[in-house]
């Protein structure tokens, strides 16, 4: 699926009249609409979904349509507007868009918040700036060419007169909205590219930021749900006698709108709900999945990766090119089910009433919540308002709407505002997961050590939370191609390169997880590039660089691959890590790179050390990244640091295993994520660029695992082909 926003740069902006003396511009920002991420279709016609407001007191308010899930959009998006507006950053405030009232297209996913909004946000800021300059010129009766905007004021250069934006707002609001306002030359940026601390920093460090779990309404009840332990199971019968006598319990109601059916206990406090749940007696109808075994499924994936595949890419072999392999190798790379394990468990507050329903949700998909709740409670969508709270982590989990549906269902049943809260165990077991997959790799090198064959076949599952593919999609190679970023968009030039997909269905609820399809494919690809380099007796860095032409750009599916940009980040990471410098004994070094979804280019050099007990410690990660123009370097670096931690948790941390249809993990004890003492030293080098900015939420994740496992190979000679790494218990390497 191509992205409509990349080609259609047309921006509509209109002035909104208000009763106050403010200048308000309405404009439209695209939603997340990348494949597999379920973005709502863009609204037809022009319905603004974003606003820029300048009040008479000089306050600049930017309405953000993207959810804050820790990626800093509530800071970076206003920075873009403020730059073109020539605003005084200290006077900029941000408000969160709420569904309804013209906000038709809200959604956050696909690392697309910055890339998709870059032009509309700049244009909105520039439009307001031009109107304010015109208003000042008219007030002074001077030529507008002699006026300039600067830090929240318009200055008349010849006389030094100055009018603040607040003073000009009313007059500006009466002017015609200009089309095609000039955009600034990036060399003159004063806000974009500078370090700006998070706009929400203060409320966070004082404990006053409102996350989903912090929403409190008058008369609100607290509920928690006992869900079927077996995936897809149902409630056969339930007895609420004991639960209803538990202190503070008010009601017990069945729930079936989420990912797992169950019974909700509604109480006066969270603790009363948790205690009441312990006293519930439920008999389950386990359904067809009670025999589902994750280990058997893993074997099935492995076997399927050998089966005949739907071809997703096949490069021609140039005439006269020799493709006789002197050495051929093959390997299978396995990736397990993974949980998001956001630190704030799923939760949602719903107040369902006839004709006026309100939802407060830590969500990446308020639009979809509205649509799906409307269908569930059989009320028109216009009567439903979704308030987006701060989210304690997202990573794709909050693109699912199951937890909001459950809250609406419970609120409707008990006719009261209700907060439905998931325990950590619920969150670990009953969400959607990163699908498990296997990648079958075959390749060869010729007598001179050049790669002459490459085939990568992914065996995996579609993302079930968005529904199964239609018969037409199932038969379409494009559908499966787009379900394997990191595989078909292989950036290297290898004659006859071929990729494929073998769909393997499972009953496990699956959905987007940070970087979606890429981590498993990229782990296999970047590891196997290493294997081929070693088979050819060549250095893995030099081998990669030899397959990337600085001037070559090509298209893989709908994605644009720029070999030169990838080459530069690989070379930069290697240089900064001093690739050829000797490491202490027992240490190893590995490299991996990636072009994420046709956009951001990122490479790591990892250094890992091994203990005498066989334990592994990742000591240092050197990153080089090209993400176009950087809005907020502090934000970009934070995403890389966080992406490294996230990726590392898949290498030396946990996995989700399933036995008898039940997820076996329950908390951070049996699903470890990395901790302070396991965090490597991270060094980040950003390639200066004047290209449009590209996403940074997801791109840092995929190359982490292969960089680290390549380093482990370098240190130990052991090739890791299945994650997480299984090591003797020791610091930094449980399992």
């Amino acid at each position: 699926m191509s992205d409509p926003y990349k080609t259609n740069r047309r921006c509509f902006i209109k002035a909104i009249s208000t009763s106050s003396a403010a200048l308000v511009l309405g404009f439209h920002l695209p939603v997340a609409a990348k494949p597999g991420q379920g973005g709502a279709a863009p609204a037809k016609g022009f319905v603004p979904n974003a606003y820029l407001r300048i009040d008479p007191d000089g306050t600049v308010t930017v309405t953000v349509t993207k959810s804050e899930i820790g990626q800093g959009v509530r800071t970076s998006l206003p920075m873009i507007v403020a730059e073109e507006l020539e605003a005084d950053w200290s006077r900029v405030v941000v408000t969160q868009a709420t569904t309804g009232l013209g906000f038709k297209s809200l959604g956050t996913g696909g690392s697309w918040a910055i890339g998709g909004n870059w032009t509309p946000l700049r244009t909105a800021g520039a439009t307001a700036r031009e109107m304010l300059v015109s208003a000042a010129a008219a007030a002074w009766s001077v030529d507008r060419a002699t006026c300039r905007a600067e830090k929240g004021s318009v200055v008349h250069a010849p006389t030094g007169r100055r009018l603040g934006y607040g003073e000009l707002a009313e007059a500006a609001s009466k002017l015609q909205v200009p089309t095609n306002p000039p955009l600034k030359d990036p060399k003159n940026y004063t806000i974009i590219g500078t370090r700006r601390p998070r706009i929400d920093g203060r409320p966070i460090v004082t404990g006053t930021a409102t996350f989903g779990l912090d929403v409190r309404l008058p008369g609100m009840k607290f509920a928690t749900i006992l869900r079927s332990p077996v995936m897809g199971g149902k409630v056969a019968k339930w007895d609420d006698k004991r639960a209803m006598t538990s202190a503070g319990v008010r009601a017990v109601v069945p729930v079936s709108s989420g990912l797992a059916a169950g019974v909700a206990v509604v109480a006066d406090s969270t603790w009363a709900a948790f205690k009441g749940r312990e006293a519930l007696d439920v008999t389950w109808d386990n359904g067809p999945n009670a025999a589902f075994d994750g280990e058997a499924f893993r074997k099935k994936l492995e076997e399927s990766s050998h089966a005949s595949a739907i071809v997703t890419r096949k490069d021609a072999v140039a005439a006269g090119t020799s493709v006789t392999a002197a050495r051929s190798i093959e390997a299978t790379y396995e990736y397990p089910f993974q949980a998001h394990a956001t630190l704030e468990p799923m939760n949602c507050v719903a107040d369902v009433r006839d004709g006026r329903t309100e939802i407060w949700a830590p969500t990446q998909a308020p639009d979809r919540i509205r649509e799906r709740v409307a269908a569930l409670i059989k009320q028109p969508a216009e009567t439903i308002t979704v308030h987006v709270t701060m989210s304690g982590g997202g990573f794709g989990r909050r693109l699912g709407v199951d937890y909001a549906l459950e809250a609406a269902e419970v609120s409707m049943a008990v006719k009261s505002p209700v907060q439905v809260i998931w325990s950590r165990e619920d969150d670990m077991r009953h969400g959607h997961f990163q699908p498990a997959s296997a990648n079958r790799m075959t390749g060869g090198v010729d007598a001179k050590g050049a790669p002459v064959a490459w085939k990568q076949v992914k065996a995996g599952s579609y993302l079930s939370i968005f529904g199964p593919p239609s018969a037409a999609e199932r038969a379409s190679s494009d559908y499966w191609r787009d379900a394997s970023w990191g595989c078909y968009d292989n950036p290297y030039s290898i004659p006859g390169l071929e990729t494929g997909y073998v769909p393997v269905d499972s009953p496990v609820p699956t959905g987007p997880w940070r970087a979606v399809y890429s981590p498993s494919c990229s782990f296999a690809r970047e590891s196997f590039v290493d294997e081929l380099a070693h088979a050819a007796g060549r250095d893995p860095l030099e081998f990669r660089l030899s397959l990337l032409d600085p001037a070559k750009k090509f298209k893989a599916g709908n994605l644009n691959i720029d070999q030169g940009r990838l080459r530069s980040v690989l070379a930069l990471a290697a240089e900064k890590a001093q690739w050829t410098r000797k490491l202490p004994p027992g240490w190893g070094r590995g490299i991996a790179g990636n072009v994420y979804d046709g956009d951001t280019c990122l490479a790591y050099v990892a250094e890992a050390s091994t203990g005498k007990d066989g334990s592994i410690r990742v000591e240092r990660m050197v990153c080089a990244v090209d993400c176009g123009i950087v809005i907020n370097p502090s934000g970009v670096e934070a995403q890389i640091e966080g992406g490294i931690a996230f990726g590392l948790s898949t290498v030396i941390g946990g996995e989700i295993t399933i036995r008898a249809g039940r997820v076996e993990q329950s908390s951070f004890l049996d699903y470890p994520v990395i901790r302070m003492d396991q965090m490597p030293k991270v060094e980040i080098h950003i390639v200066p660029s004047t290209a449009s900015p590209t996403g940074m939420g997801e791109p840092p994740v995929p190359p982490v695992a292969p960089a680290v496992t390549n380093a482990i190979f370098n240190a130990t000679g052991k090739r890791i082909r299945r994650l997480p790494v299984r090591l003797p218990a020791a610091a930094g390497g449980e399992k």
Binding site: E68, I69, G70, Q71, G72, P197, R198, D200, G201, R202, I204, V205, T206, G207, T208, A209, F211, L213, D214, R216, F222, A247, G248, D268, S269, T270, W271, A272, F274, A341, T342, L343, E344, P345, M390, S391, G392, G393, F395, S423, R424, S634, A638, E641, G642, G643, I644, A645, F646, S667, F668, L669, V673, I674, R675, M676, D677, M679, K681, V682
Partner: protein, 161 residues
């Protein structure tokens, strides 16, 4: 705040310097007394099992998992939550957190800050190893560890000067 809780006579807690009546069944974890009874939602629920640190508060200056202790256990002791560290972000640890732009989603940070404040109170010049030892029970799924480390060193330097 919730008026509907079963009254439990006699439990008075000293939270952030103020004596507060806290009506809740005696087995109620301190975390839920703070959040559901006293309306102090700054302390977070991450696991309820003592394995993530999101709920960390200070009890007589020591970091305590509020999800693992009950009202009666802290009666007569001084409980400090993130709201009580300072409401204007003036505590050196909060200032350092802002200066290093630590937070991503921010959910773990109340627990991280309280744990760091306790560390610095007993060890004004922590080494990296001291930081590892004190902070490794606190999960940050967003991976802000490098900045937390920098912020602790910054706060230590500032508190000394």
């Amino acid at each position: 705040m919730n008026e509907n809780l079963i009254p439990q006579d006699g439990l008075r807690l000293t939270v952030n310097g103020t004596q507060r009546p806290a009506s809740a069944p005696p087995d109620t974890p301190l975390l839920w007394i703070l959040r559901d009874v006293l309306g102090l939602t700054g302390s977070k629920f991450g696991c309820g099992l003592g394995v993530c640190g999101a709920c960390t508060v200070l009890v007589d200056g020591e970091p305590v998992r509020s999800c693992m202790s009950t009202g009666p256990e802290v009666a007569g002791k001084k409980v400090t939550t993130i709201e009580g560290l300072s409401s204007d972000a003036s505590h050196p640890v909060q200032r350092a957190w802002l200066a290093e732009d630590v937070a991503q989603c921010g959910y773990c940070q109340a627990g991280q800050i309280m744990t760091a404040a306790a560390l610095l109170a007993r060890n004004p010049r922590p080494t990296d190893a001291d930081i590892d030892a004190a902070m490794s029970e606190n999960v940050c799924r967003c991976g802000t560890y490098q900045r937390i480390r920098a912020a602790i060193h910054r706060a230590a330097a500032e508190m000394k000067s």
